[in-house]
Amino acid sequence: MSGQGMNLTLRVWRQAGSEDKGEFRFYQLNNVSEHMSFLEMLDVLNERLIKLGEEPVAFDHDCREGICGMCSLMINGQAHGPDNETTTCQLHMRRFRDGDTITIEPWRAKAFPIIRDLVVDRTSFDRVISAGGYVSVNAGNAPDANCLPVPKQDQEKAMDAAACIGCGACVAACKNASAMLFTSAKVSQMAVLPQGKPERARRVLNMVAQMDEEGFGSCTNTSECEAACPAGISVDNIARLNREYLKAVVFSDEGV
C-alpha cells in the first residue's frame, strides 16, 4: 500500500435479527486502499468497530475468489456492485472514488429473509434444487467413455448453465424478486444432456412448483437478472425452462 487512500462514507443496513426493524447507519472509513477488495474494506470496517466495542457488520462470504456464491450485497443499488460478471469479493475499491458515499443493502426478497445485517437466508434455493435439480443414477461400474455421445454445442450449453453459483443476485436484481434465472439454469444444465432427459418433465414441474411455493415473484423478462449475474447466465435459459414446462404439461405423463 502506498500513498493516500480514499475516504469513504458507508451507508450500511444494520438489523440485529430477523424480527428487528433495521435501519441504515453511516460509517466514515478513511485511508482505504484502492487495492482492497470490497470485502476486505468491510473487514477493515469491522476491525475498527470491534476496537470501538461496537457490533461488527455481519455479511456472507466464503471462498473470496468468485466461485462459492456466498457473498452477496446490493452496492449502490447494484447486485455485487458496478462490474459485470463479478462477485462482490472480486470487486475492488479502485472502482470507487475518494469522497464517495456507498450504500450497502442486503438482498431483498420475501424468499430470502434477513438473518442479520447483510446476511440473508438463501435456503429457499436449496429447496428448489431438492425438488428436482439432480439426476438419479444407480451406482455401479463407470460406463465406457464415449458410449453416450453428447454434441459439443450441448456440452457448452450445459456447462454455461452449470456456471451458476447460486448467489441469488438474479433474485436481488429482479424487480419481481423472481428466481427464474436460477431455476432455469438448474433445469437447463440437465435438460440439454442425455443423462438429464429421463427426469426432465418431473424435474421442471417440481422445481417450478417449489420456486412458487417459496414466494419468489414471476418473470417479466426485463433481463436485469442476466446483467446482474456474476456467472453470466443467459436469459436463453429462461426460455428453455418455459419450453420444458410447456412440454412437460402437454406431453408428459406427469400429473395425470
Partner: protein, 221 residues
C-alpha cells in the same frame, strides 16, 4: 383436469396465459386497424365495411364475447401478477440501478407495463364511450353514416388528445410486450431472436403510427 389447473396457476403458466392473451389482443388490433384504414379509401368503402360488419350481429356478439374473455384474462392476470410480485420483493431497496448495457433508452418500458397497460385501458374506455356505448354528446353525428361519425369523433378535441396518448401507451406497452410474449412462450433462438426483438418493436411502431395516421387524416376532412 387437475394438471391443467395446476399448470395455469403456476408462475410460468400465468406468464404463458399473459403472453397468449397479449398476442391475441395484438391480432385483434391488426384486424381492427386494417378495417379502419378503409377510411382512407373513402366514405363508400368504409360505410360498406361497417354495415357488412354489423349485419352479422350474432357473429359479432360471439366475437365480442371471445374478445372480452381474452381481455379480462389479460387484465386480471396483470393485477394478480403485479400484486404477487410486489409481495415477493417485500421491503424495497433504498437505491436501485440497472446493470444492463446497451439500453435503447433510460426509460425502460418493461418496468412500466402495468402503468402503460392502465393508460391503454383508459384510452380503451374513452374509445368505447365514443363509438360503441355513445356515452358522450352524440348530437353532432346523430343519424350520420359510419364514415361521417368516425370523422366527427376523430376531430373531437378530447378524443384527439386521448387517442394520441393511447397510441403512445400502445407503443410503449408493445415495445416490450411482443418480445416478452415470445420469451414467455419459450420462443427464443439465436436464428430468430433479432427478428423477434426488432420485429416486435417495428410492429408496435406500425400499430401506433397506423392508428395515429387516422386521427391526423381526420383533421383534414
Amino acid at each position: 383436469m387437475n394438471w391443467l389447473r395446476c399448470a395455469l396457476s403456476s408462475s410460468v403458466g400465468k406468464k404463458f396465459l399473459m403472453a397468449i392473451t397479449g398476442l391475441a389482443l395484438c391480432g385483434f388490433l391488426v384486424v381492427h386497424l386494417a378495417g379502419n384504414l378503409l377510411l382512407f379509401a373513402g366514405a363508400e368503402a368504409y360505410n360498406a365495411y361497417a354495415h357488412k360488419l354489423h349485419d352479422n350481429e350474432d357473429l359479432l356478439h360471439v366475437a365480442e364475447t371471445g374478445l372480452a374473455l381474452i381481455f379480462f384474462t389479460h387484465l386480471y392476470l396483470a393485477f394478480k401478477l403485479s400484486a404477487e410480485n410486489r409481495i415477493a420483493r417485500g421491503r424495497g431497496y433504498a437505491e436501485s440501478q440497472s446493470k444492463r448495457e446497451n439500453l435503447i433508452s433510460k426509460v425502460r418500458p418493461e418496468t412500466w407495463m402495468l402503468v402503460t397497460g392502465l393508460g391503454l385501458l383508459a384510452y380503451m374506455l374513452l374509445h368505447l364511450a365514443d363509438f360503441t356505448l355513445e356515452f358522450r354528446d352524440t348530437s353532432h353525428y346523430e343519424g350520420l353514416e359510419p364514415f361521417d361519425k368516425a370523422v366527427s369523433l376523430l376531430t373531437d378535441p378530447i378524443s384527439v388528445v386521448g387517442y394520441l396518448a393511447g397510441f403512445a401507451f400502445l407503443f410503449a406497452h408493445l415495445s416490450h410486450g411482443i418480445s416478452s410474449a415470445f420469451q414467455s412462450l419459450g420462443l427464443n433462438h439465436p436464428k430468430y431472436n433479432a427478428v423477434i426483438k426488432w420485429g416486435g418493436l417495428g410492429f408496435a411502431l406500425a400499430l401506433a403510427l397506423g392508428n395515429a395516421s387516422l386521427v391526423f387524416w381526420a383533421q383534414g376532412q
